[in-house]
């Protein structure tokens, strides 16, 4: 009787086998080790340090300059600018070449993609129907009242709104400084723009705090790290311009052209002024897991790292119903508010919906939003998407991006098939909508001012708009779990054009699979039962 330990392998063979067995154990271990590669350098520390060092980088103490001591007449912004230009002789010229000044952008060889020209939005609609003076409170210039504004006059540039460090500077109608502001004091303390400077306008887009973007509002100034790991003072404490790097007064990242590095190639901030990217600081392989890193081919960092927007205390506007505006009580406009004090109806704007902690809408996006101008025919889609995102799975530049999806109704000209520019902002007797409450007159006036054709007929139409979400990046503990998307009814349930594991599970395939298993079990079960009944093995 042979020994069970076998007789066939000669000792040498067994040694080889033993060696191979050792390898067998080691190889997978080395794969494990690869999966858990050392984490990439985080870079947080360096940015905090950079921020602390910013104060030291200024080489001039502006309080030492005689010309900035003034005195300046109350509200005389241009006088301050003239003083600035005595040293910074090219500053105004540089600034005048940027969209912060022109409020107009050319795109694909076509002009008019800007507030000052023909762009239509979902909130205050347009400014060119005679509303310029109220809206140019946010123009970085002085005296932009109407289309006669002189865009070539250097003293009209407002240096202080971006370079004020006191927090006291304030602008009024047509962008003029509030006359109560001590201009000389502000002028002597100028410095690099911080969150407050950019936020003075960009937190208040859409007419009020948090209204437009959803990922930008003034709660960021005092936010805990959980609201925005980058801009929170408890987080990296970064300023806007740390990412929106600037040169020659051109600020990186204009939304109307292309907002971000489409492929997330690592570039240090400022290397590519118009295109910033997360990868610039974080590299394009910041995770320990190869599979997570590979998501960057098709998924924007923002998609997983911004689980919701409007995570501060302020809700953002998600619906604006111009069609219901203009209702009066006893001939007077009125407001209705919800329990939290947010307006649910105003005569000026109609019904409104405000939301906090909003889950983004996810859409293929290659960085190009196709905007609509007053001069364009209405897009064919219903509801009209004012700025559809370009991109698909097959587009090598496109990724799945998070968006704030904004809905509205707004007036349009059904005969000319264009949007219209109502004159909204004016006192009673001028024909302004917010004075006389007549939309047909307001549109007629507005289109006259804008110099655009109007058929005399208007109606309301549902319009939607997409706002890319990129701020309010959450701490990594709040990042989306895999199954938020890799699930049948996950966040990407509506995103088409590709097979997504965990989501796309065909009934037919599972049916066949389970049928095969069940038939096998039935087969062997019946066989076993018969064997048992026969009392044999």
């Amino acid at each position: 009787m042979p020994h069970p330990s076998g007789k066939s392998s000669p000792p040498r063979m067994r040694r080889i086998l033993r060696f191979l067995l050792g390898l067998l154990v080691l190889l997978p271990l080395s794969v494990c080790a690869q999966e858990a590669a050392p984490p990439a350098p985080s870079g947080h520390g360096s940015f905090t340090a950079a921020h602390a060092a910013k104060a030291r980088t200024q080489t001039a103490d502006h309080s030492k300059f005689k010309i900035l001591k003034g005195p300046f007449k109350d509200g005389d912004g241009p006088a301050v600018t003239r003083a600035c230009l005595t040293c910074h002789t090219k500053a105004a010229e540089q600034f005048m070449a940027t969209s912060h000044w022109t409020w107009n952008v050319a795109k694909d060889g076509k002009d008019g993609y800007g507030k000052a020209t023909a762009l239509v939005n979902n909130y205050c609609l347009t400014i060119v129907g005679g509303n310029t003076e109220g809206c140019t409170r946010c123009h970085a210039g002085y005296g932009f009242k109407d289309k006669t504004f002189d865009f070539t006059r250097q003293e009209n540039v407002d240096c202080l709104v971006c370079h004020d460090t006191t927090g006291d500077y304030e602008k009024e109608r047509a962008g003029m400084p509030n006359p109560a502001i001590p201009l000389a004091e502000v002028a002597q303390k100028v410095g690099s723009p911080t969150l407050k400077n950019c936020g003075a306008c960009h937190f208040f887009g859409g007419g009020a705090n948090a209204t437009k973007h959803g990922d930008l509002d003034d709660t960021i100034l005092k936010a805990p790290r959980a609201e925005d790991v980058h801009m929170s003072r408890q987080g990296a404490g970064m300023d806007c311009i740390d990412c929106h790097a600037s040169t020659e007064h051109k600020v990186g990242g204009p939304n109307y052209v292309i907002p971000a590095d489409r492929r997330e190639q690592p570039k240090f901030p400022g290397e590519s002024i118009s295109r910033m990217s997360c990868a610039a600081c974080h590299t394009n392989a910041p995770h320990a897991s190869y599979i997570l890193n590979r998501h960057y081919l098709k998924v924007a960092c923002q998609t997983c790292h911004i689980p919701a927007f409007a995570r501060g205390e302020r809700p953002t506007n998600t619906f604006w119903d111009w069609a219901t505006s203009g209702r009066l009580k006893d001939g007077r406009p009125y407001e209705e508010k919800d329990a939290n004090g947010w307006p649910t109806y105003t005569s000026m704007r109609g019904k409104m919906v405000w939301e906090r902690n909003v889950k983004p809408t996810y859409i293929w996006y290659n960085g190009n939003l196709k905007f609509t101008r007053l001069t364009d025919p209405l897009p064919a889609s219903r509801p009209v998407v004012l700025n559809p995102a370009e991109g698909s799975y097959r587009d090598p530049n496109a990724k799945i991006w998070p968006f704030k999806f904004h809905e509205a109704t707004q007036p349009y000209d059904p005969v000319n098939n264009t949007f219209v520019a109502p004159f909204t902002d004016g006192p009673p007797g001028t024909g302004a909508y917010w004075g006389d409450w007549q939309m047909d007159i307001a549109i007629k006036k507005g289109m006259e001012t804008a110099g655009l054709p109007y058929s005399g007929k208007y109606d309301y139409i549902r319009t939607t708009m997409l706002w890319p979400i990129t701020h309010m990046v959450a701490p990594k503990e709040q990042v989306l779990k895999c199954t938020e998307c890799h699930a049948r009814k996950g966040r990407l349930a509506e995103v088409q054009g590709f097979y997504l594991i965990g989501r796309d599970r065909g009934f037919g395939v599972d049916f066949i699979g389970f049928a095969v298993i069940i038939l096998t079990i039935l087969g062997v079960g019946i066989h076993g039962v018969i064997r048992y009944l026969h009392g044999r093995h």
């Binding site: 794969v31 081919l297 090598p396 590709f498 699979g513 064997r531 093995h537």
Partner: protein
């Protein structure tokens, strides 16, 4: 009675390691597909599934080496000899207590049906799973560099999943058939200890 060695130490190690790997990959795979309640969690299931895939592949490479160097691959050469008798045995004979139609030998330990089943397992199901699994894993790279169609991934996934269902069915059939030995546990015991005590009439001498 005659004690014969059927499975050497490496063969037993291979068999049970492969069983463990494949069963764990079934669990993780079906969790990833969303057909099982949470066991590992999606992310860990993916990692485990991939690490085990590489482990299994490595095991298979060594096992091919073992098959070649020991000549054990000859055990899997399909034969028609006694094939009909084997089918008849499972369909009727086994219920009547008829003797097993094929006698075992050290170098002919698999009956004709086993030969067919295991050969199919080795040259069909496993290679299909490995190929589709690798294509699945590297699909993002392939899609990106070769501009593969999105439906290619769907096709890869469907084949991989059907293969997985097939493996589950195989597992049930396989485990059941182990009970058809001399006693219900004879075969499993042999796969653990390596040898089997066979009545003299179930063994044939080398000639």
């Amino acid at each position: 009675m005659r004690r014969i060695v059927l499975y050497e130490r490496y063969e037993r190690f291979w068999h049970w390691a492969q069983a463990l790997l494949i069963i764990t990959m079934m669990l993780t795979g079906f969790e990833i597909r969303g057909l099982l309640p949470q066991l590992f969690g999606f992310q860990r299931a993916v990692t485990v599934h991939n690490v085990l895939a590489v482990t299994l592949l490595t095991l298979i490479v060594f096992t091919i080496f073992w098959h070649v160097t020991t000549g054990e691959w000859r055990q899997y050469i399909p034969t028609r000899k006694f094939l009909r008798e084997m089918v008849a045995f499972y369909l009727t004979g086994i219920f009547k207590g008829a003797p097993h139609p094929v006698k075992k030998h050290r170098m002919a330990k698999l009956n004709p049906l086993q030969r067919l089943a295991y050969l199919g397992f080795k040259v069909l199901i496993i290679p299909v799973q490995i190929t589709t699994g690798a294509l699945y894993y590297f699909y993002p790279n392939l899609q990106h560099s070769l501009a593969w169609s999105p439906s290619a991934l769907w096709f890869i996934a469907v084949v991989h999943v059907l293969g997985a269902f097939g493996l589950v069915a195989f597992l049930f059939g396989h485990v059941y058939l182990t009970t058809t030995g001399h006693t219900p546990t004879t075969n499993i015991k042999a796969m653990i200890v390596g040898w089997e005590d066979l009545p003299d009439d179930e063994y044939f001498e080398e000639t």
